[in-house]
């Protein structure tokens, strides 16, 4: 079960000149968003191979059509513990910097256009010392936290058990 995102899904609705198109997804009762341009594909959960002594939010690696990529558990990254992954969980495959990575989330909710002016800077939340949140968007009913993917992947929520560096 996988949904290939491509341009043609979006060409019907012309975006406003200064708008960002955001893919939103949920982890628990929270909603997060990333720019649609970073999303390569959305696929159902599939088992990963754990990596020895990796950071806790690194779930392991999987095979995406012959390319090996690492899957990061967003729940762990934001400090809510580990996801009990089931077939209904979703891996958002994203391009971050020059790498491809998977983000394990509960579900993908929507694709929305938000005016750039509606994006507010992330307040200095005491819990977000890792700078995972890049900004906040107020939608009708909820607050969407825009993720800084590079930070999510780099640090996760807890890096006490970072990869061992052995000379």
């Amino acid at each position: 079960m996988s949904l290939q995102l491509s341009e043609k899904h979006f060409t019907s609705a012309q975006p406003e000149s200064a708008a960002r198109r955001i893919v939103t997804f949920r982890v628990g009762d929270r909603t997060f968003g990333i720019d649609v341009g970073m999303v390569r594909e959305i696929k159902g959960w599939q088992a990963t191979t754990p990596l020895p002594h990796a950071a806790p939010h690194v779930r392991g690696v999987l095979n995406l059509r012959g390319v090996i990529l690492a899957v990061y558990d967003l729940r762990t990254a934001i400090g809510l513990g580990s996801t009990e992954a089931t077939a209904t969980h979703v891996i958002v495959v994203v391009d971050v910097e020059d790498k491809t990575a998977g983000l394990l989330v509960d579900s993908v909710s929507d694709i929305v256009d938000v005016p750039v002016s509606a994006v507010r800077p992330a307040p200095d939340l005491e819990r977000d010392e890792h700078g995972l949140i890049e900004g906040l968007v107020l939608l009708d009913t909820e607050i969407v936290a825009l993720l800084d993917l590079a930070a999510v992947i780099r640090d996760g929520g807890d890096n006490q058990d970072k990869q061992l560096r052995v000379a």
Partner: protein, 770 residues
């Protein structure tokens, strides 16, 4: 990439090949080949380099290549006998050209070696003097030659002529269409006259000349500069401005020369740059030469170099008396048959190049060109992508096999045959794609002669390098990794193996040492050996050194073969003086480590006084490897078969527990550390170790690895973990198993480091026996 940069890149790629060919041919000639095709090929190679370099404005390279080419031309024309030719010099020059090419590639300017240049000039001059002796003394050099070598100066001179001609009338030319330089005024008289006959060459390039990366000055520059009387450019074919395409060549040239070259020889010179129908060579009878010259050769007097003017006027001076004389024998055109039909006319022998080229027997050169045409240049990236896809298919196919197994028997039987065929075809496809990636080791081997030459000079030794099996093919991933170990091995043999000529004579050997570099396929691996006939390994000194470094116990007794293996131990060098070549003790141990990290082996056989042989065995590719699939708890891993020595049941193995949970086992009389893989790698699930795999480490020791189960043995496609994640301790890469899941490929040494980082433990002791 912009087209010019792309062209440039292609040029440098070709240069690599051309340099290889040049060196190879020179080497063959040096070793006594008398095949004129070798000379021609060497000449063509340097000529092509020069041509391309000119197009990209690599001035130093053009200058040097030109002089080099001129020297080789003396060989080609037979003015210098092959036996007398200084091939050592030529080989050094080909190294110098390689340096210049490398510099040009990096947009740097490398200094031209004046000593080589001077030596090359010498070749030219010594030769030229010999045949010219009975006739009139050769003409004065073309240029004042106050600055720079005469060859370059002469070329510069010619270029200046062309430039001057092309510059001055260019503005006027389009207006007065037929009023080019063809009919300017003649020049005054002077006494000098070179021997030979007058030749008129009409060059009518196709419009795509520039796009073929050929410059007129390069095409014309191939002629001996001092034999050119004039170069005229006809601009009458330049179209009106509106339709002018500046990338088209609209220029026509008429070159007048006074030369001893036959028409055929001139034709063959142009063959490299111009198509047959693009030029026409006419040998002019004396009687005809005059008026033609007056009409054709028309440089503005002020712009003509003095000697050209002098030559020209000499021709004019001779015109009168010769007008009604019969053509002299020495100016008979070489193309006799072609001369016959036009004999009625006062002896202009016109032989269109095309006709003559057709009449010539098909030369080796033409055959060589045809051979080249059947191969295609393919970007390595594309092959990699293809390889990737084939890897996918292999995985999908094994996935399919597992699916089919779960089908009811009657369905299974029907599909099984198809699946079997598919498996065979997939494997075949993989082999073929691997074959496309395979390259002959020549790519690496051909760098070695230069290394040997340079080292021989530095070390004052005489060494002959013999290459065998250069066409042995191996995957490109291995080719890339071969250069360093081979360089080290050759250096080692040059420095420590082969003795100085004096020592060799004293030992009753040929003063010239021999190093053999041999490649061959053996048992699915590539085996490369470096054999020298030097002094062999100095066992006493090696052992003394190892003892002084504490690598070997003071009272330990080692078999001679064991001592030889010490050469691979870290930090040992027996060179008495530390030299640039080797002797910093970072030679063979580094080679061994690198080779083993590639899944290869290196060994040494030495016979004191007779020589030493290093043998390197490597897998044919790094893209796939033969692996043992093992399980620990819920996780599966692949351990390269190359690392595995043997497997045994845990229950049958005596295990001792040391401090901090560290375990050792006794294996073949050795105490071998034991690690439980699941614990080291943090495998999930409950573990129940049953099996011990004895594996070899890079440092030469062994280690026991306890695992739950051996799942099987299979060929796996190596996938990078770095490209999308990063380095993973304990693993070198990953692969995808038949069920589509990823398994890590274990790196034994990295796994040991990972284990050591958890529990403090001594570094495994160096084991000496191989």
């Amino acid at each position: 990439m912009d087209p010019l940069a792309e062209l440039k890149q292609t040029f440098f790629q070709e240069c690599e090949e051309l340099l290889g060919a040049l060196e190879q041919k020179l080497q063959a000639l040096d070793e006594g080949s008398t095949d004129s095709e070798d000379v021609n090929a060497a000449f063509r190679a340097i000529h092509s380099i020069k041509g391309g370099a000119g197009a990209f404005g690599c001035t130093e390279l053009v200058g040097f290549a030109h002089v080099f080419e001129a020297a080789l031309d003396h060989l080609r024309s037979g003015r210098v006998a092959l036996a007398d030719a200084p091939f050592t010099l030529f080989l050094r020059c080909s190294d110098a050209v390689a340096d210049l090419v490398a510099a040009a590639r990096n947009d740097e300017v490398a200094p031209v070696r004046p000593d080589l240049l001077a030596a090359l000039e010498q070749v030219g001059q010594a030769k030229a003097a010999v045949p010219a002796a009975p006739a009139a003394p050769p003409a004065a050099p073309a240029a004042p030659a106050s600055d720079g070598p005469p060859g370059i100066a002469a070329l510069g001179n010619l270029l200046a002529m062309v430039d001057a001609k092309m510059g001055a009338p260019a503005a006027a030319a389009p207006a007065a269409a037929n009023d080019g330089w063809d009919d300017d005024e003649p020049v005054a008289a002077a006494p000098v006259r070179r021997p030979g006959h007058d030749v008129r060459i009409k060059i009518t390039p196709e419009a795509d000349l520039f796009r073929r990366v050929i410059e007129p000055r390069v095409a014309i520059g191939i002629l001996p500069a001092d034999e050119i009387v004039s170069v005229a450019c006809d601009l009458s074919h330049v179209p009106p401005l509106e339709t002018l395409d500046v990338t088209d060549c609209h220029m026509r040239f008429t070159v007048m020369m006074r030369t001893e070259l036959s028409a055929d020889e001139i034709v063959s010179k142009f063959d490299f740059t111009l198509a047959n129908e693009e030029f026409e060579v006419e040998v002019l009878a004396e009687a005809e030469a005059g008026p033609e010259l007056v009409a054709e050769a028309a440089p503005a007097a002020s712009e003509v170099p003095q000697n050209v003017a002098a030559d020209l006027s000499a021709i004019l001076a001779r015109l009168g008396p010769a007008a009604d004389a019969a053509p002299q024998p020495d100016i008979q055109p070489a193309a006799a048959p072609a001369a016959a039909p036009v004999a009625a006319a006062p002896a202009i022998a016109t032989a269109p190049a095309a006709a003559r080229a057709a009449a010539r027997p098909v030369s080796n050169e033409a055959a060589a060109r045809q051979r080249q045409a059947v191969s295609v240049r393919v970007d390595l990236d594309r092959i990699d992508r293809l390889m990737n896809l084939v890897g996918e298919i292999v995985i999908t196919q094994s996935m399919l096999v597992e699916c089919v197994r779960s089908l009811p028997y009657d369905v299974y039987a029907k599909t099984a045959e198809g699946i079997l065929t598919l498996s065979r075809q997939t494997r075949e496809l993989q082999d073929h794609v691997m074959a496309v990636r395979a390259q002959p080791v020549k790519a690496v081997f051909q760098r070695m002669p230069r290394l040997v030459r340079e080292l021989a000079q530095t070390l004052g030794k005489e060494v002959k390098l013999v290459l065998e099996g250069e066409n042995t093919e191996v995957d490109k991933t291995i080719i890339e990794e071969l250069a360093d170990p081979l360089t080290h091995m050759i250096r080692n043999s040059m420095d420590h193996g082969v003795e100085t000529p004096e020592e060799r004579i004293a030992a009753g050997k040929n003063p010239e040492g021999t190093i053999k570099l041999i490649a061959e396929h053996r048992a699915g691996r590539i085996v490369i050996s470096v054999t020298d006939d030097g002094r062999g390994i100095g066992r006493d000194r090696l052992l003394a050194k190892a003892k002084s470094r504490g690598l070997v116990g003071a009272d330990e007794k080692l078999a001679p073969e064991e001592i030889d293996q010490l050469i691979f131990a870290a930090g040992l060098s027996t060179a008495d003086a530390v030299s640039d070549i080797s002797g910093r003790g970072v030679g063979m141990d580094v080679v061994r480590r690198n080779v083993e990290s590639l899944g290869g082996r290196i060994s040494v056989d030495s016979e004191p006084g007779r020589g030493c042989k290093f043998t390197l065995a490597l897998p044919l590719t790094l893209a796939v490897l033969e692996g043992m699939v093992i399980r620990c708890g819920d996780d599966r891993y692949v351990i390269p078969i190359a690392s595995v020595i043997e497997t045994q049941h845990l229950a049958n193995t005596p295990i001792e527990h040391l401090t901090f949970g560290q375990e050792v086992l006794r294996w073949r009389g050795e105490i071998t550390p034991l690690h439980r893989l699941g614990a080291v790698m943090g495998s999930a699930g409950t573990r129940d170790e049953n099996i011990i795999i004895i594996a070899e480490t890079e440092r030469g020791g062994n280690v026991g690895i306890a695992v739950d189960e051996i799942v099987g043995q299979q060929q796996v496609v190596v996938k990078s973990l770095e490209s999308n994640y990063g380095t993973v301790n304990g693993a070198s890469a990953a692969t995808i198993l038949g069920d589509g899941l990823v398994a890590l490929i274990l790196d034994v040494d990295s796994m040991l480091r990972l284990a050591a980082s958890g529990v403090r433990q001594p570094v495994p002791e160096l084991k000496l026996a191989g």
